[in-house]
Amino acid sequence: MRLEMGHIYIKDIQFAAESKIEDGILYVSEEAVKAVALEDEKIKSVSFDIAKPGESVRITPVKDVIEPRVKVEGRGGIFPGVIAKVDTVGEGKTYALKGMAVVTAGKIVGFQEGIIDMTGPGADYTPFSKTLNLVMVCEPVDGIKQHDYEKAVRFAGFRVAVYLGELARNLTPDETKVYETCTIKEGMEKYPNLPRVAYVQMLQSQGLLHDTYVYGVDAKKIVPTILSPTEVMDGAIVSGNCVSACDKNPTYVHLNNPVVHDMFEQHGKTINFVCQIITNENVYLADKQRSSDWTAKLCKMLDLDGVIVSQEGFGNPDTDLIMNCKKIEAEGVKTVIITDEYAGRDGKSQSLADSDPAADAVVTGGNANQVVILPKLDKVIGTLDYVTKIAGASEETLREDGSLEVELQVLTGATNETGFNKLSAR
C-alpha cells in the first residue's frame, strides 16, 4: 500500500469569525466548532480554548489528544468505522495539520487524570506541551451514565478534528512524505537480503476508560490481525482510554505511531518492514493466551526475522507483553520490547509485574513513579478539582504555594510505551 502524507504546518491558532487556514494560521470559528461538538445531544455545553507552547497554562483532566487530518485521495475517510464509513484506509493521499492538536478534557470519573502543562518542568515530560492545542471541555447533560459520557466526548473530539482537517482539503502541503509497503511476495523479491520485520502493537482493551477501537471495533473482541502500517495514519485505531495518563496512547500517538514511522525510515535500507500486527490486553487470562499464541503464529506464518512489541498501560499488560515476547522468541523471531516502569518513588522496587529471560532487549520510557513538582500556573483549562485525587498524586499534592507534587503518572504521554519520547531510565 502506498500513502502520501501531506504535512501542513500550523504556526498559530486564533479564534475568528470564519474557520480557515491561511499562511499557516488556523482560524477557528468558535461558533462552528461548538455546533460540531454539540451535534451529540448528550453534550450539554462545550467551551473552547487555545493553549500555546510556553504559556503559563495547565490543561486537566485530559481525555484524548487528536491530530486533525483529511483524506484527499484514495479509499475511505479519516477514522473509518467511527466518523467515516467503514472502508479500508491507508492508501492514496492524506493531509495532516502538524504542530497542533485537539485536546478533549472533561471529568468522566471522579479520579480522572491527565495533565498537560504548557510550560515548566511538567512541559518537559508531556509531548503535548510542544503542540498548539485547541482544547475543548465538554459538559454532559444531567444524569448521564459514565459510559455514554465517555463515548460522547470521544466522538466529539473526532468530529472537531475531522472538521478542522477538512479546512486543509484544498491546500498545498508544506512537505510530503511517501510511505509504501509491499505485498508479501513483492517484499521477498525486492529485498531478498533484508531482515523481515514487523511491529506488534498491543492495544489497551479492558473496559470503560481502558478501551481502544480498530475500525470502530472494540479491541477486546478482536483476535490479533495484520494491518498495513499506513492504515493507522488514517485513523484506523482510536483511543477510548484515559486512565494511567502517562502510558496510554492518545489517538494522536496512534496517528503518528513512532514505531511505524521509525521502521519506515529503515524500510528498504536495513529492514523490510512487512506489516503491523495488532493484538489486545484483555482482563481474561485465556484471552491473553489466545492472543499471544496468535501473534506468535502470525510472526511465524509471515516468516519474520524480528519484531518490536509495544505495550500500553500498567500491570495487567505486563503479562501480555512477556507472553508475546516469550512466544515470539520461541518461534525464532527476535524481539525488542518497549515498556515503562513502576519502580516506586525511590526507584528501588521491581519495575514490571512480570518478567522473563527471553526479554533481553528492552527499551523503557522511564519510571512513572518519579516525583515532579509542578509550579502553580496562571491559567487552568478544565478543572483542578480532581488533580488532588488523581493517580500518582498524594495527600500533599497541593502544596502551600499552589504547586503540585505529583508522580509522572499523571502527565499525559510522559512515559509512553510506543517510544514516543526521549525519557528513559537506567
Binding site: 470519573v109 482493551s205 473496559g207 477486546k220 486512565v243 487470562l285 484471552d287 491473553k288 509485574a353 495527600e395
Partner: protein
C-alpha cells in the same frame, strides 16, 4: 447457574450487578487482602481466570478489586501462582490513598472495577 468460575471481590457493586447465576464471594477487606485471598485459593488448587492487576487504576489508589478464579480445584497452577505473587508485590509500590476521596468518587471506582470484571465475564461466558 454458571458454576465453573467464581468472583472474589470487595466491590459492593458486584453482588448488586450479578444475580444468583454467578458465584460471588464478597468480602469487606482491602485490595491487597483480596489478592491474598485469591493467592490462598490458588494454593488450594483453584486457577486464576482474570488478571489480578486488571485496569490502570493503581492498587492503593482504587480500593476495589474483583478477580475471577475457577470453581474447580486441581494441581497447583504455576502460572496463576506467579501472576498473583507478582501482583501482591506490585501493590506495595504505590502510596496508599484509597481513603482520601469524596463519596461520589468511590462510586466511580466501583463502576470502573465492575466494567473491568464485566469484560472478563463476557469472555468467560463465551465458552
Amino acid at each position: 447457574m454458571i458454576k465453573y468460575y467464581m468472583i472474589i471481590t470487595n466491590n459492593p457493586l458486584v453482588p448488586k450487578k450479578l444475580d444468583d447465576s454467578r458465584i460471588v464471594i464478597y468480602r469487606d477487606i482491602s485490595y491487597e487482602d483480596v489478592l491474598k485471598e485469591v493467592r490462598d485459593r490458588i494454593h488450594e488448587g483453584h486457577r486464576l481466570l482474570s488478571h489480578p492487576l486488571s485496569g490502570s487504576v493503581k492498587p492503593n489508589e482504587t480500593p476495589y478489586k474483583s478477580v475471577m478464579i475457577s470453581t474447580g480445584k486441581g494441581e497447583i497452577d504455576e502460572e496463576s501462582l506467579a501472576i498473583i505473587e507478582n501482583a501482591i508485590q506490585a501493590c506495595r509500590k504505590f502510596a496508599f490513598k484509597s481513603d482520601m476521596y469524596k463519596p461520589s468518587v468511590y462510586e466511580d471506582f466501583q463502576l470502573i472495577d465492575w466494567t473491568l470484571l464485566e469484560s472478563g465475564i463476557a469472555s468467560a461466558d463465551a465458552w
